[in-house]
Symmetry: C2
Subunit: 229 residues, 2 copies
Protein backbone atom coordinates (compact mmCIF):
# COMPACT_ATOMS: atom_id res chain seq x y z
CA UNK A 1 0.00 0.00 0.00
CA UNK A 2 3.06 2.30 -0.21
CA UNK A 3 2.06 5.63 -1.70
CA UNK A 4 -1.65 5.17 -1.01
CA UNK A 5 -3.58 8.14 0.29
CA UNK A 6 -4.43 7.85 3.96
CA UNK A 7 -7.97 8.09 5.29
CA UNK A 8 -9.23 8.06 8.87
CA UNK A 9 -12.34 5.88 9.12
CA UNK A 10 -14.67 6.06 12.12
CA UNK A 11 -15.38 2.44 12.98
CA UNK A 12 -18.06 1.55 15.50
CA UNK A 13 -18.28 -2.17 15.05
CA UNK A 14 -21.67 -1.75 13.44
CA UNK A 15 -22.84 -2.69 9.99
CA UNK A 16 -22.68 0.83 8.53
CA UNK A 17 -19.14 1.75 9.50
CA UNK A 18 -17.78 -1.65 8.45
CA UNK A 19 -19.28 -1.00 5.03
CA UNK A 20 -17.90 2.56 4.92
CA UNK A 21 -14.43 1.18 5.69
CA UNK A 22 -14.70 -1.37 2.89
CA UNK A 23 -15.71 1.45 0.52
CA UNK A 24 -12.71 3.55 1.58
CA UNK A 25 -10.46 0.58 0.78
CA UNK A 26 -12.20 0.04 -2.53
CA UNK A 27 -11.46 3.68 -3.40
CA UNK A 28 -7.77 2.95 -2.81
CA UNK A 29 -7.28 4.56 0.58
CA UNK A 30 -4.95 3.23 3.24
CA UNK A 31 -7.30 3.00 6.22
CA UNK A 32 -6.59 4.31 9.72
CA UNK A 33 -9.54 3.10 11.77
CA UNK A 34 -10.62 4.89 14.93
CA UNK A 35 -13.05 3.59 17.53
CA UNK A 36 -14.20 4.94 20.88
CA UNK A 37 -14.77 3.42 24.27
CA UNK A 38 -17.30 5.91 25.57
CA UNK A 39 -19.10 4.17 28.36
CA UNK A 40 -21.43 2.44 25.93
CA UNK A 41 -23.38 -0.45 27.39
CA UNK A 42 -22.74 -2.46 24.30
CA UNK A 43 -18.96 -2.97 24.52
CA UNK A 44 -19.31 -5.98 22.18
CA UNK A 45 -19.20 -3.28 19.47
CA UNK A 46 -15.49 -2.77 20.12
CA UNK A 47 -14.73 -6.47 19.69
CA UNK A 48 -16.45 -6.34 16.32
CA UNK A 49 -14.55 -3.16 15.41
CA UNK A 50 -11.24 -4.86 16.18
CA UNK A 51 -12.17 -7.88 14.05
CA UNK A 52 -13.15 -5.63 11.13
CA UNK A 53 -10.02 -3.48 11.47
CA UNK A 54 -7.78 -6.55 11.54
CA UNK A 55 -8.74 -7.37 7.97
CA UNK A 56 -9.13 -3.89 6.46
CA UNK A 57 -7.09 -1.26 8.36
CA UNK A 58 -3.41 -0.37 8.43
CA UNK A 59 -3.82 0.80 12.04
CA UNK A 60 -6.66 0.80 14.59
CA UNK A 61 -6.86 3.12 17.58
CA UNK A 62 -9.41 2.95 20.36
CA UNK A 63 -9.81 6.29 22.12
CA UNK A 64 -11.12 6.38 25.67
CA UNK A 65 -13.67 9.12 26.18
CA UNK A 66 -16.12 9.63 28.98
CA UNK A 67 -19.45 10.77 27.59
CA UNK A 68 -21.06 9.44 30.78
CA UNK A 69 -19.72 12.56 32.51
CA UNK A 70 -22.62 14.36 30.82
CA UNK A 71 -25.31 11.65 31.05
CA UNK A 72 -28.35 12.27 28.93
CA UNK A 73 -28.60 9.12 26.79
CA UNK A 74 -30.04 5.63 27.16
CA UNK A 75 -26.85 4.28 25.54
CA UNK A 76 -24.68 5.55 28.39
CA UNK A 77 -26.96 6.30 31.34
CA UNK A 78 -29.51 4.40 33.38
CA UNK A 79 -32.42 4.91 30.99
CA UNK A 80 -34.12 1.85 29.47
CA UNK A 81 -33.55 1.25 25.77
CA UNK A 82 -36.99 1.22 24.08
CA UNK A 83 -38.09 -2.12 22.60
CA UNK A 84 -40.61 -2.86 19.86
CA UNK A 85 -42.09 -5.86 18.11
CA UNK A 86 -42.19 -4.34 14.62
CA UNK A 87 -40.22 -1.73 12.72
CA UNK A 88 -43.44 0.23 12.04
CA UNK A 89 -43.58 1.12 15.73
CA UNK A 90 -40.45 3.30 15.48
CA UNK A 91 -41.26 6.85 16.48
CA UNK A 92 -40.53 10.03 14.54
CA UNK A 93 -39.21 11.68 17.70
CA UNK A 94 -35.50 11.94 18.40
CA UNK A 95 -34.99 8.81 20.50
CA UNK A 96 -33.58 8.55 24.03
CA UNK A 97 -30.68 6.54 22.58
CA UNK A 98 -29.31 9.80 21.15
CA UNK A 99 -25.89 10.63 22.66
CA UNK A 100 -25.32 14.40 22.95
CA UNK A 101 -22.88 15.69 20.35
CA UNK A 102 -21.47 12.22 19.77
CA UNK A 103 -20.61 12.49 16.09
CA UNK A 104 -19.25 16.00 16.69
CA UNK A 105 -16.85 14.63 19.27
CA UNK A 106 -15.93 11.55 17.21
CA UNK A 107 -15.23 13.64 14.11
CA UNK A 108 -13.11 16.03 16.15
CA UNK A 109 -10.83 13.20 17.27
CA UNK A 110 -10.71 11.92 13.69
CA UNK A 111 -9.73 15.43 12.58
CA UNK A 112 -6.89 15.55 15.10
CA UNK A 113 -5.55 12.19 13.96
CA UNK A 114 -5.95 13.11 10.30
CA UNK A 115 -3.91 16.25 10.89
CA UNK A 116 -1.10 14.30 12.56
CA UNK A 117 -1.15 11.61 9.85
CA UNK A 118 -1.25 14.16 7.05
CA UNK A 119 -4.54 12.65 5.87
CA UNK A 120 -7.08 14.79 4.04
CA UNK A 121 -9.93 12.29 4.11
CA UNK A 122 -12.27 11.12 6.86
CA UNK A 123 -14.96 8.47 6.35
CA UNK A 124 -18.06 8.24 8.54
CA UNK A 125 -20.86 5.75 7.98
CA UNK A 126 -23.80 8.04 8.69
CA UNK A 127 -27.01 7.43 6.87
CA UNK A 128 -29.82 9.91 6.37
CA UNK A 129 -32.54 7.37 5.56
CA UNK A 130 -32.67 4.59 8.16
CA UNK A 131 -30.87 6.86 10.62
CA UNK A 132 -33.04 6.79 13.77
CA UNK A 133 -33.56 10.57 13.67
CA UNK A 134 -30.23 11.74 15.10
CA UNK A 135 -29.50 15.35 14.10
CA UNK A 136 -25.77 14.67 13.70
CA UNK A 137 -26.41 12.11 10.94
CA UNK A 138 -27.91 14.64 8.53
CA UNK A 139 -26.12 15.82 5.37
CA UNK A 140 -26.40 19.47 6.43
CA UNK A 141 -24.55 18.67 9.64
CA UNK A 142 -21.76 16.87 7.78
CA UNK A 143 -21.39 19.75 5.31
CA UNK A 144 -21.13 22.29 8.13
CA UNK A 145 -18.63 20.08 9.93
CA UNK A 146 -16.45 19.89 6.82
CA UNK A 147 -16.51 23.67 6.40
CA UNK A 148 -15.50 24.13 10.04
CA UNK A 149 -12.79 21.47 9.84
CA UNK A 150 -11.14 23.22 6.92
CA UNK A 151 -10.81 26.33 9.07
CA UNK A 152 -9.61 24.45 12.16
CA UNK A 153 -6.33 22.99 11.05
CA UNK A 154 -2.88 23.98 9.87
CA UNK A 155 -3.43 21.89 6.74
CA UNK A 156 -6.55 23.94 6.02
CA UNK A 157 -4.65 27.21 6.50
CA UNK A 158 -2.06 25.95 4.03
CA UNK A 159 -4.78 25.36 1.44
CA UNK A 160 -5.22 21.60 1.66
CA UNK A 161 -8.81 20.47 1.46
CA UNK A 162 -10.11 18.05 4.04
CA UNK A 163 -13.10 15.99 2.92
CA UNK A 164 -15.62 14.21 5.12
CA UNK A 165 -16.83 11.22 3.12
CA UNK A 166 -20.30 9.84 3.82
CA UNK A 167 -20.62 7.06 1.23
CA UNK A 168 -23.78 5.66 2.86
CA UNK A 169 -25.64 8.92 3.29
CA UNK A 170 -28.35 8.31 0.68
CA UNK A 171 -28.55 4.52 0.85
CA UNK A 172 -31.19 2.32 2.42
CA UNK A 173 -30.04 -0.31 4.88
CA UNK A 174 -30.74 -2.94 2.22
CA UNK A 175 -28.52 -1.12 -0.30
CA UNK A 176 -25.73 -0.77 2.26
CA UNK A 177 -25.80 -4.49 2.97
CA UNK A 178 -25.75 -5.36 -0.74
CA UNK A 179 -22.75 -3.07 -1.29
CA UNK A 180 -20.90 -4.50 1.69
CA UNK A 181 -21.50 -8.08 0.61
CA UNK A 182 -20.12 -7.21 -2.84
CA UNK A 183 -16.99 -5.85 -1.11
CA UNK A 184 -16.59 -8.93 1.09
CA UNK A 185 -17.66 -7.48 4.45
CA UNK A 186 -18.26 -10.24 7.00
CA UNK A 187 -21.44 -9.03 8.70
CA UNK A 188 -21.30 -11.83 11.25
CA UNK A 189 -18.51 -9.72 12.77
CA UNK A 190 -20.62 -6.57 13.07
CA UNK A 191 -23.21 -5.71 15.68
CA UNK A 192 -25.88 -3.06 15.53
CA UNK A 193 -27.71 -3.71 18.80
CA UNK A 194 -28.22 -0.97 21.40
CA UNK A 195 -28.79 -3.49 24.19
CA UNK A 196 -27.07 -6.83 23.55
CA UNK A 197 -27.37 -9.83 25.85
CA UNK A 198 -24.46 -10.60 28.19
CA UNK A 199 -23.27 -13.27 25.73
CA UNK A 200 -23.04 -10.64 22.95
CA UNK A 201 -26.14 -11.72 21.02
CA UNK A 202 -28.25 -8.87 19.62
CA UNK A 203 -31.59 -8.21 21.33
CA UNK A 204 -33.60 -8.17 18.09
CA UNK A 205 -36.09 -5.60 19.35
CA UNK A 206 -34.30 -2.23 19.66
CA UNK A 207 -34.63 0.35 16.87
CA UNK A 208 -31.23 -0.54 15.47
CA UNK A 209 -31.85 -4.32 15.40
CA UNK A 210 -35.21 -3.82 13.71
CA UNK A 211 -33.72 -1.61 10.98
CA UNK A 212 -30.90 -4.08 10.39
CA UNK A 213 -33.19 -7.10 10.18
CA UNK A 214 -35.41 -5.24 7.73
CA UNK A 215 -32.36 -4.55 5.54
CA UNK A 216 -31.41 -8.21 5.36
CA UNK A 217 -35.01 -9.27 4.80
CA UNK A 218 -35.37 -6.84 1.89
CA UNK A 219 -32.29 -8.40 0.29
CA UNK A 220 -33.71 -11.86 0.87
CA UNK A 221 -30.55 -12.77 2.78
CA UNK A 222 -30.17 -14.28 6.24
CA UNK A 223 -28.50 -11.96 8.77
CA UNK A 224 -25.44 -13.88 10.02
CA UNK A 225 -25.61 -12.13 13.40
CA UNK A 226 -27.07 -14.09 16.33
CA UNK A 227 -30.21 -12.65 17.91
CA UNK A 228 -32.04 -13.32 21.18
CA UNK A 229 -35.39 -13.00 19.35
CA UNK B 1 -28.74 32.52 40.94
CA UNK B 2 -32.10 30.77 40.47
CA UNK B 3 -33.49 31.51 37.02
CA UNK B 4 -30.14 32.61 35.58
CA UNK B 5 -29.25 31.43 32.12
CA UNK B 6 -26.60 28.72 32.08
CA UNK B 7 -23.38 29.02 30.12
CA UNK B 8 -20.60 26.50 29.63
CA UNK B 9 -17.21 28.23 29.91
CA UNK B 10 -14.00 26.60 28.68
CA UNK B 11 -11.50 27.23 31.46
CA UNK B 12 -7.83 26.47 30.93
CA UNK B 13 -6.34 28.08 34.02
CA UNK B 14 -4.80 30.76 31.85
CA UNK B 15 -5.32 34.49 31.88
CA UNK B 16 -7.67 34.62 28.90
CA UNK B 17 -10.21 32.01 29.96
CA UNK B 18 -10.32 33.36 33.55
CA UNK B 19 -11.25 36.73 32.07
CA UNK B 20 -13.82 35.20 29.72
CA UNK B 21 -15.43 33.46 32.70
CA UNK B 22 -15.60 36.74 34.63
CA UNK B 23 -17.25 38.36 31.62
CA UNK B 24 -19.84 35.54 31.40
CA UNK B 25 -20.66 36.14 35.06
CA UNK B 26 -20.86 39.91 34.50
CA UNK B 27 -23.39 39.24 31.72
CA UNK B 28 -25.54 37.39 34.26
CA UNK B 29 -24.81 33.80 33.28
CA UNK B 30 -24.62 30.95 35.74
CA UNK B 31 -21.25 29.44 34.86
CA UNK B 32 -20.53 25.74 34.25
CA UNK B 33 -16.76 25.59 33.85
CA UNK B 34 -15.08 22.83 31.89
CA UNK B 35 -11.38 22.01 31.86
CA UNK B 36 -9.36 19.24 30.25
CA UNK B 37 -6.55 17.02 31.37
CA UNK B 38 -5.04 16.23 28.00
CA UNK B 39 -1.51 15.12 28.70
CA UNK B 40 -0.30 18.70 28.87
CA UNK B 41 3.14 19.13 30.43
CA UNK B 42 1.88 22.10 32.39
CA UNK B 43 -0.61 20.46 34.76
CA UNK B 44 -0.30 23.51 37.06
CA UNK B 45 -2.91 24.99 34.68
CA UNK B 46 -5.54 22.71 36.16
CA UNK B 47 -4.79 23.85 39.72
CA UNK B 48 -5.29 27.42 38.57
CA UNK B 49 -8.51 26.47 36.78
CA UNK B 50 -9.86 24.89 39.97
CA UNK B 51 -9.01 28.01 41.98
CA UNK B 52 -10.72 30.26 39.42
CA UNK B 53 -13.78 28.02 39.21
CA UNK B 54 -14.13 27.89 43.00
CA UNK B 55 -14.91 31.63 43.07
CA UNK B 56 -16.85 32.05 39.82
CA UNK B 57 -18.51 28.80 38.71
CA UNK B 58 -21.58 26.89 39.82
CA UNK B 59 -19.92 23.64 38.77
CA UNK B 60 -16.51 22.64 37.40
CA UNK B 61 -15.78 19.47 35.45
CA UNK B 62 -12.38 18.24 34.40
CA UNK B 63 -12.57 15.91 31.41
CA UNK B 64 -9.81 13.40 30.80
CA UNK B 65 -8.81 13.23 27.17
CA UNK B 66 -5.75 11.73 25.59
CA UNK B 67 -4.45 14.00 22.85
CA UNK B 68 -1.07 12.34 23.29
CA UNK B 69 -2.50 9.38 21.36
CA UNK B 70 -1.97 11.54 18.27
CA UNK B 71 1.31 13.26 19.22
CA UNK B 72 2.25 16.20 17.05
CA UNK B 73 2.65 19.06 19.52
CA UNK B 74 5.37 20.39 21.81
CA UNK B 75 2.74 20.82 24.52
CA UNK B 76 2.04 17.10 24.66
CA UNK B 77 4.95 15.31 22.98
CA UNK B 78 8.70 15.23 23.41
CA UNK B 79 9.43 18.34 21.38
CA UNK B 80 11.22 21.25 23.04
CA UNK B 81 9.14 24.37 23.71
CA UNK B 82 10.86 27.27 21.90
CA UNK B 83 12.32 29.99 24.14
CA UNK B 84 13.10 33.62 23.37
CA UNK B 85 14.56 36.63 25.12
CA UNK B 86 12.20 39.23 23.62
CA UNK B 87 8.65 39.24 22.30
CA UNK B 88 9.87 40.61 18.96
CA UNK B 89 11.51 37.24 18.27
CA UNK B 90 8.15 35.47 17.99
CA UNK B 91 7.77 33.91 14.58
CA UNK B 92 4.89 34.34 12.13
CA UNK B 93 4.81 30.58 11.52
CA UNK B 94 2.30 28.33 13.22
CA UNK B 95 4.31 27.24 16.25
CA UNK B 96 5.21 23.72 17.36
CA UNK B 97 3.12 24.28 20.49
CA UNK B 98 -0.02 23.97 18.34
CA UNK B 99 -2.15 20.98 19.43
CA UNK B 100 -4.02 19.37 16.50
CA UNK B 101 -7.73 20.18 16.54
CA UNK B 102 -7.60 21.11 20.23
CA UNK B 103 -10.25 23.81 20.27
CA UNK B 104 -12.44 21.69 17.98
CA UNK B 105 -12.32 18.86 20.50
CA UNK B 106 -12.78 21.14 23.52
CA UNK B 107 -15.77 22.91 21.98
CA UNK B 108 -17.31 19.54 21.11
CA UNK B 109 -17.24 18.46 24.75
CA UNK B 110 -18.63 21.85 25.76
CA UNK B 111 -21.41 21.35 23.21
CA UNK B 112 -22.28 17.95 24.69
CA UNK B 113 -22.44 19.36 28.22
CA UNK B 114 -24.44 22.38 27.06
CA UNK B 115 -26.98 20.09 25.45
CA UNK B 116 -27.40 18.04 28.63
CA UNK B 117 -27.61 21.19 30.79
CA UNK B 118 -30.06 22.87 28.44
CA UNK B 119 -27.57 25.72 27.99
CA UNK B 120 -27.53 27.73 24.76
CA UNK B 121 -24.30 29.61 25.45
CA UNK B 122 -20.65 28.58 25.36
CA UNK B 123 -17.78 30.95 26.21
CA UNK B 124 -14.24 30.47 24.92
CA UNK B 125 -11.39 32.88 25.60
CA UNK B 126 -9.81 32.82 22.16
CA UNK B 127 -8.10 35.90 20.94
CA UNK B 128 -7.27 36.80 17.35
CA UNK B 129 -4.58 39.39 18.11
CA UNK B 130 -2.01 38.02 20.56
CA UNK B 131 -2.97 34.51 19.62
CA UNK B 132 0.26 32.79 18.66
CA UNK B 133 -1.01 31.95 15.18
CA UNK B 134 -3.24 28.96 15.94
CA UNK B 135 -5.84 28.42 13.17
CA UNK B 136 -8.54 27.41 15.65
CA UNK B 137 -8.41 30.80 17.41
CA UNK B 138 -9.61 32.75 14.35
CA UNK B 139 -13.06 34.36 14.13
CA UNK B 140 -13.87 32.49 10.91
CA UNK B 141 -13.24 29.18 12.69
CA UNK B 142 -15.53 30.12 15.58
CA UNK B 143 -18.30 31.22 13.21
CA UNK B 144 -18.10 27.96 11.27
CA UNK B 145 -18.11 26.02 14.53
CA UNK B 146 -21.25 27.80 15.69
CA UNK B 147 -23.02 27.06 12.39
CA UNK B 148 -22.09 23.38 12.68
CA UNK B 149 -23.11 23.21 16.35
CA UNK B 150 -26.58 24.49 15.57
CA UNK B 151 -27.03 21.57 13.17
CA UNK B 152 -25.53 18.98 15.54
CA UNK B 153 -27.93 18.98 18.44
CA UNK B 154 -31.52 18.24 19.31
CA UNK B 155 -31.85 21.78 20.69
CA UNK B 156 -30.78 23.11 17.30
CA UNK B 157 -33.32 20.93 15.51
CA UNK B 158 -35.99 22.31 17.82
CA UNK B 159 -35.04 25.85 16.81
CA UNK B 160 -33.01 26.97 19.82
CA UNK B 161 -29.97 29.00 18.91
CA UNK B 162 -26.63 28.04 20.42
CA UNK B 163 -24.12 30.88 20.61
CA UNK B 164 -20.34 30.58 20.92
CA UNK B 165 -19.20 33.71 22.77
CA UNK B 166 -15.67 34.98 22.20
CA UNK B 167 -15.60 38.14 24.30
CA UNK B 168 -11.81 38.51 23.95
CA UNK B 169 -11.58 37.95 20.21
CA UNK B 170 -10.65 41.52 19.25
CA UNK B 171 -8.81 42.60 22.40
CA UNK B 172 -5.10 43.03 22.99
CA UNK B 173 -3.58 41.21 25.93
CA UNK B 174 -3.31 44.57 27.73
CA UNK B 175 -7.04 45.23 27.22
CA UNK B 176 -7.95 41.74 28.42
CA UNK B 177 -5.95 42.27 31.61
CA UNK B 178 -7.54 45.68 32.23
CA UNK B 179 -11.02 44.21 31.78
CA UNK B 180 -10.27 41.31 34.09
CA UNK B 181 -8.88 43.54 36.82
CA UNK B 182 -12.05 45.66 36.63
CA UNK B 183 -14.05 42.44 37.14
CA UNK B 184 -11.93 41.31 40.08
CA UNK B 185 -10.01 38.45 38.43
CA UNK B 186 -7.08 37.33 40.60
CA UNK B 187 -4.34 36.87 38.00
CA UNK B 188 -1.95 35.45 40.58
CA UNK B 189 -4.15 32.35 40.26
CA UNK B 190 -3.74 32.05 36.50
CA UNK B 191 -0.83 30.66 34.55
CA UNK B 192 -0.03 31.13 30.88
CA UNK B 193 3.30 29.32 30.66
CA UNK B 194 3.88 26.51 28.15
CA UNK B 195 6.81 25.10 30.15
CA UNK B 196 6.60 25.91 33.87
CA UNK B 197 9.26 24.95 36.40
CA UNK B 198 8.60 21.93 38.65
CA UNK B 199 7.54 24.33 41.45
CA UNK B 200 4.85 25.83 39.18
CA UNK B 201 6.62 29.13 38.43
CA UNK B 202 6.29 30.36 34.85
CA UNK B 203 9.39 30.11 32.64
CA UNK B 204 9.19 33.72 31.45
CA UNK B 205 10.62 32.92 28.03
CA UNK B 206 8.05 30.93 26.06
CA UNK B 207 5.75 32.68 23.57
CA UNK B 208 2.88 32.72 26.00
CA UNK B 209 4.89 34.16 28.93
CA UNK B 210 6.32 36.88 26.71
CA UNK B 211 2.88 37.93 25.45
CA UNK B 212 1.50 37.97 28.98
CA UNK B 213 4.37 40.02 30.40
CA UNK B 214 3.99 42.51 27.56
CA UNK B 215 0.30 42.89 28.42
CA UNK B 216 1.01 43.72 32.05
CA UNK B 217 3.87 46.05 31.09
CA UNK B 218 1.61 47.97 28.69
CA UNK B 219 -0.84 48.50 31.55
CA UNK B 220 1.97 49.66 33.82
CA UNK B 221 0.96 46.93 36.29
CA UNK B 222 3.08 44.23 37.92
CA UNK B 223 2.18 40.67 36.91
CA UNK B 224 1.36 38.87 40.16
CA UNK B 225 2.49 35.51 38.72
CA UNK B 226 5.92 34.25 39.79
CA UNK B 227 8.47 33.78 37.02
CA UNK B 228 11.78 31.94 36.80
CA UNK B 229 13.21 34.82 34.75
Amino acid sequence: MAGSKKAVVLLSGGLDSATAMAMARAEGFEVYAMSFRYGQRHAVELECAAEQAAVAAKEHRVVEIDLRAFGGSALTADIDVPKHEHVEELSDEIPVTYVPARNTIFLSYALAWAEVLGANDIFIGVNALDYSGYPDCRPEFIEAYETMANLATVAGVKGEKLAIHTPLIDLTKAQIIQLGLDLGVDYAKTTSCYDPAPDGRSCGRCDSCLLRKKGFTENGIADPREYVV
